[in-house]
Symmetry: C2
Subunit: 528 residues, 2 copies
C-alpha cells in the first residue's frame, strides 16, 4: 500500500489547476431541476446523499476519482477492516466497523477472534438490558430501575448522548422507551450534583464508562455518585455497571453490578456502536432497537467499499470536503440538521472530525505542508436560521454546509397552520436555504444583496429511525476516515489531549515548575 | 462623528506592519508569572479579564489604542446610548443598554421617554411574576403554575435559554427557584410535541415571544400549544402570556393572560435583558434575581465607557479580536467556559457575534475589502478537552480561545478525590490548558510535539451569580458592538435572514418559480 502525502501526488497538481475556476463556480445558472435530480448517491436504507449544490462538475469529479484511486482509499479501508494496524501512533488496529458486522477477514489478536468477542459482549449486555427493563434486575432496595445515568466524557459521552436524544422521540412514539437516560460528564461538580439530586437514586442505575479506567473526570464523578448512593443507604455495588477494557482497573471488579468490555481497538469517538453506546441505548430503548441501529451502520459500512465515487456517498462527501478545504480554501464546515432530534449530533461530529483529523503530522510522524481537518460546528435548523446563518449568507468568508433532513417527523404529532403542517414548513425552509445559499439574490441595496456561491450537500431520508441513525453515524465516521487517508494522517489517536493532562497533574501536585501556570492557578483561587 | 472603513485609517497600516512579528510572538519565553499578574483588566463585580496569553505587547497595544481613538469607538458608544440611529439599515435606535440602567441622555421617541417605558414594563412583569410565583395567578382549572414554557426562536430563545441554564443551579442552591422553565423553538413538530407531552398543562404557563408577532415558527408553535390546551379542556387565554411590540398583532390581545412589551430598538439577540428574557427568568427565579442580573449588566455597560483600552475589558477584547481576525489572519474563535452552567452560553454568543458582524457591506451599504465577524463556536471545558481540543492543540490552523472560569461552584456540593475537590480539578485543567496552548511542548516524536502559539484570554470571577452573568453577557454584547464600530458595520440588522424566508413562502405557496427549489422540495417529500 502506498502512503504518500497529499501534495506529492499527481491529483494534487490537477486539482490545483481546477481551483481558480472552482472558486467562481456558477451556481445560479447551473443549479436546475435536472441537476438536483441527477446529483444523488443512494446511501443505506432510505437515505440519499445529494451534491447538486456542491462545486462539482465532470472534470472536478474525475480529478477527485483520480485522487481516490491514487491514494488507494478503498484499499486502505479494506486493510483497516482486515485488522491492519492503522492507528500507527499507538500501534493499534481500528475495529469499530466490526462491532456492527463483518466486511473483511476474521480479525484474530493474541488468539482471540475479536468479531466473536464484540458479539459476545453485545449479547451479554442485550440480555442484561432485557432483564433490567423487565424489572428482574433491581436496585438495592428491591425497586425496579427507572433511570440510567451514563458517567463518561468525550467519546463516552458525546456520541451516546447524541444518539439517545436522536432516538428518544422515535422510541416513545413506537412504544420502545422504558428507561430515562441522563449523562454526567464534566468534572465541574455542578454537573453530577444537578443530575443526582434530581433523581430517586433507589430507581437509578449508573453506567460508568472509561476504556482505560483512569479518566480523571469520570473517576471523580464515580466517587461523587458512590458517595451519594451511600448517603442514601443504597449499595453502590447494586447500582453501578462498568463499561471498560478487560485490562483496566475497573474490569472484573466485584464492586460493580456487572461489567461489559471493549478493547483498545475501539477509539472513544468511534465507540457509539460498542458497549459504550450500546448499554445505555439498550436500557433506554431495548436491545432490538440497538440492533436496528447497528444494522443501519453496517449497511453504510458495506456501501463505503464501492470504488466509484459517484456511487459511494461517504467517499464522495470526503473528497468534496478535501476539495473545499485544500483547494477552494474554506477553513470550516457547518452541520445543519433540520431535525430537533439531531440537536447534539453536530457536537458529536465536531469531536469525530476535529479530534480525528486535527493533525499536523502524517501517519509516520512526518511533516506535512497542507491544511488538514476543518473546524466543524452546527445547530439544528430552523433554529440556526435565526442565529448564525446571517454570517453564512452575507459574511466575508464562505463556509460549506452539510444539511440533513427527513420526510417525516418522529412523533407524528403536528398542526396545520396557513395550509401546511409544521413538518412541511420545516422541509420548505430546508429546500429554500439550499437554494438561497447557492444562488443568492441580486439587489441594488447592497445590504440586501446575497452573493450566493455557498456550497452545500444534503442527506435526506424517510424518517430518523434507528437504522437511519446508524447509517448516518457510519457515513460520517467513514467520511472522516477517508479524509484521513487522503491527508495521509493517523485519524485514530489523539496525542493533542496529553499535554493538558500532564500540566493539570502538575498543578494538582502543588509543584508545577512553571511560574505562569502557578500564577494562573492563583488567579483562579486554587489552593493545594 | 467619523465613519470610515477600517482599511482607510492610519492604524490599519500600523497594525499591518506589526503583523509579521505578531505571527511569531514568543509565548514560551514571555508568558511568566509577572505577565500573568499584570495583564489584567478589572471588570464589573468580581470579574477580571486577563490577556496575558494574547499576542500583545506595548507597541501592539499602542496601535490598538490608536485604532480605538481613530475610529472613535467610545464616542460612537456614547452616541448609541444617547439614542442616535445606529441601526442604519433599519433606521432604528439601539437601546438594549437602557433596559438595565441609564448611562446617556434621556431617550425620547415620538413623545415617549423610552427609559421610563422599559422600566414600566420591567415593573409590570416583576409584579406578574411575584403573583404567579405566589400562586395568586392560576391556570384555568385553578391550579398554581409549576412550569413555564417559552415559545420563541433565535434571540427569543438562545439568550433566555442560556441564561436560564446558567442560573438554575445557583437559584436552587439559594432557594430562589420556583418554576421550571422549558423552551420550544423549532418549527420541527417533534420539538413542541416532546415538551408539551411531558408536562401537566394545567400547571403550565406559556410565554409567547415574537417582537413582530409574525415569526412563522413561533406562530406555528403557538397554535400547536393552543390545540393541546384546548384538547386538555384548558382555556388558552389563561395559559399564555405574550411578549411582543406594541404594534404587533399579538399586542393588547384579550386572547392572552397578559402582555409585556419591547420595541423595535431592542434587537432579538440583544433582548435577554428585556421582557424577552425577563419574564421567564423572573418567573423561574424571581424578579429580584432578574434585577441583580440587570445590575451586573449595567455595571459592565458603565465600565465600557472608559477610553483607555488597558482599563476597558470589552474594548480591549474587541480590539484583540480584530487584531487576530484582520492582521494575524485567524478566521474563527472558540468560547470555552469551564462551567457546566454555561453549556449554552457559546450558542448564544455564536448568534450574538455571527449575526451582528457577519456582514459584507459597511453601515452605509458600501463595499468593504477586509474580513469581518469570525466563526464562533464552543462547548464547556472539561468536556471539550476530550473532543475538539485535539485540533486546537495540533491542527494546522490557529484558533484563538476565550476561556471563562470561576473560583467557586454554584451548588457547593463536591467530593474529594486524590486530595482535591472536583472544582479544584476543573480550575487546574483550565490553568493547564491556557499554558499548554500558549507554550506547547517540544518532543522528538513529532506526533507528540505541541507547537504552542495558540493565543487565549481568560475571564475569571468568584462565582457565576446573577450579577456576574449579567456582566458577562454585557461584556460580550459590548465587545461585539465595538468590533462592529471598528469594521464600520451596522451590527444591529440581519438582512441575511430574509432571502430564506422569501423562498420558504414561495415553496409553501406551491409556486416557487425555481426548478431547483421545486426539485429539492420533491426530494424532501413536500406536497402542497
Amino acid at each position: 500500500m502506498n502512503y504518500t502525502n497529499l501534495d506529492k501526488i499527481a491529483a494534487w497538481t490537477k486539482l490545483q489547476s481546477l481551483a481558480p475556476a472552482g472558486k467562481n463556480f456558477n451556481f445560479a445558472s447551473l443549479l436546475d431541476a435536472e441537476r438536483v435530480k441527477s446529483c444523488t448517491v443512494p446511501m443505506a436504507g432510505s437515505l440519499v446523499y445529494n451534491w447538486a449544490a456542491k462545486v462539482a462538475d465532470e472534470p472536478i469529479l474525475a480529478a477527485l476519482q483520480a485522487l481516490a484511486d491514487e491514494q488507494e482509499l478503498i484499499g486502505k479501508y479494506r486493510l483497516l477492516l482486515d485488522g491492519e494496524v492503522m492507528n500507527t501512533g499507538e500501534k493499534r488496529m481500528v475495529l469499530h466497523h466490526l462491532l456492527r458486522g463483518q466486511s473483511g477477514n476474521n480479525v484474530v489478536y493474541e488468539g482471540k477472534d475479536l468479531g466473536e468477542f464484540y458479539k459476545k459482549e453485545l449479547d451479554r449486555f442485550s440480555v442484561f438490558a432485557e432483564l433490567l427493563r423487565a424489572g428482574k434486575i433491581k436496585g438495592s432496595t428491591g425497586k425496579a430501575f427507572k433511570n440510567a445515568v451514563q458517567i463518561g466524557i468525550g467519546g463516552s459521552d458525546l456520541g451516546p448522548r447524541a444518539m439517545y436524544i436522536a432516538l428518544d422521540n422515535w422510541a416513545v412514539k413506537n412504544g420502545r422507551k422504558k428507561i430515562n437516560a441522563y449523562f454526567i460528564s464534566n468534572v465541574d461538580p455542578d454537573d453530577p450534583s444537578a443530575i443526582v439530586s434530581s433523581l430517586d437514586l433507589s430507581e437509578t442505575v449508573f453506567i460508568l464508562v472509561s476504556k482505560s479506567g483512569t479518566t480523571q473526570e469520570t473517576l471523580s464523578n464515580e466517587l461523587f455518585v458512590k458517595d451519594k448512593l451511600s448517603r442514601a443507604s443504597l449499595d453502590p455495588g447494586k447500582h453501578i455497571v462498568a463499561v471498560t477494557s478487560e485490562t483496566s482497573p475497573l474490569a472484573r471488579n466485584p464492586a460493580y453490578l456487572d461489567s461489559f468490555y471493549i478493547d483498545d481497538f475501539i477509539g472513544g469517538r468511534y465507540s457509539s456502536t460498542s458497549a459504550v453506546g450500546g448499554v445505555i441505548l439498550s436500557l433506554a430503548f431495548g436491545p432490538d432497537v440497538f440492533a436496528e441501529f447497528l444494522a443501519g451502520a453496517h449497511e453504510a459500512d458495506k456501501n463505503a467499499l464501492e470504488k466509484d465515487i459517484r456511487k459511494n456517498a461517504a467517499l464522495l462527501d470526503a473528497l468534496l470536503g478535501v476539495w473545499e478545504r485544500n483547494f477552494l480554501g474554506y477553513p470550516s464546515t457547518a452541520v445543519l440538521p433540520y431535525s430537533q432530534a439531531l440537536s447534539r449530533f453536530p457536537a458529536h461530529l465536531q469531536q469525530l472530525d476535529m479530534e480525528s483529523n486535527g493533525k499536523r503530522v502524517n501517519r509516520e510522524g512526518g511533516e506535512i505542508s497542507y491544511v488538514t481537518g476543518p473546524v466543524v460546528f452546527g445547530e439544528p435548523g430552523t433554529n440556526g436560521q435565526h442565529s448564525f446563518y446571517q454570517l453564512l449568507h452575507q459574511g466575508t468568508d464562505i463556509i460549506p454546509l452539510q444539511f440533513v433532513g427527513f420526510e417525516d417527523s418522529q412523533r407524528d404529532d403536528d398542526v396545520t397552520v396557513d395550509g401546511s403542517v409544521s413538518q412541511t414548513k420545516l422541509k420548505a425552509n430546508l429546500a429554500a436555504q439550499i437554494v438561497a445559499f447557492a444562488k443568492g439574490k441580486d439587489d441594488a441595496d447592497k445590504n440586501k444583496f446575497f452573493p450566493g456561491g455557498r456550497p452545500s450537500s444534503l442527506i435526506h431520508g424517510k424518517q430518523l429511525c434507528p437504522a437511519a441513525l446508524g447509517s448516518l453515524l457510519a457515513h460520517f465516521e467513514n467520511k472522516v476516515m477517508f479524509q484521513g487517508f487522503v491527508w495521509n494522517l493517523n485519524s485514530f489517536d489523539q496525542e493533542g489531549v496529553q499535554l493538558g493532562k500532564i500540566l493539570t497533574k502538575k498543578v494538582l501536585s502543588g509543584n508545577s515548575g512553571d511560574g505562569a501556570l502557578d500564577a494562573y492557578s492563583a488567579l483562579l483561587g486554587i489552593k493545594i
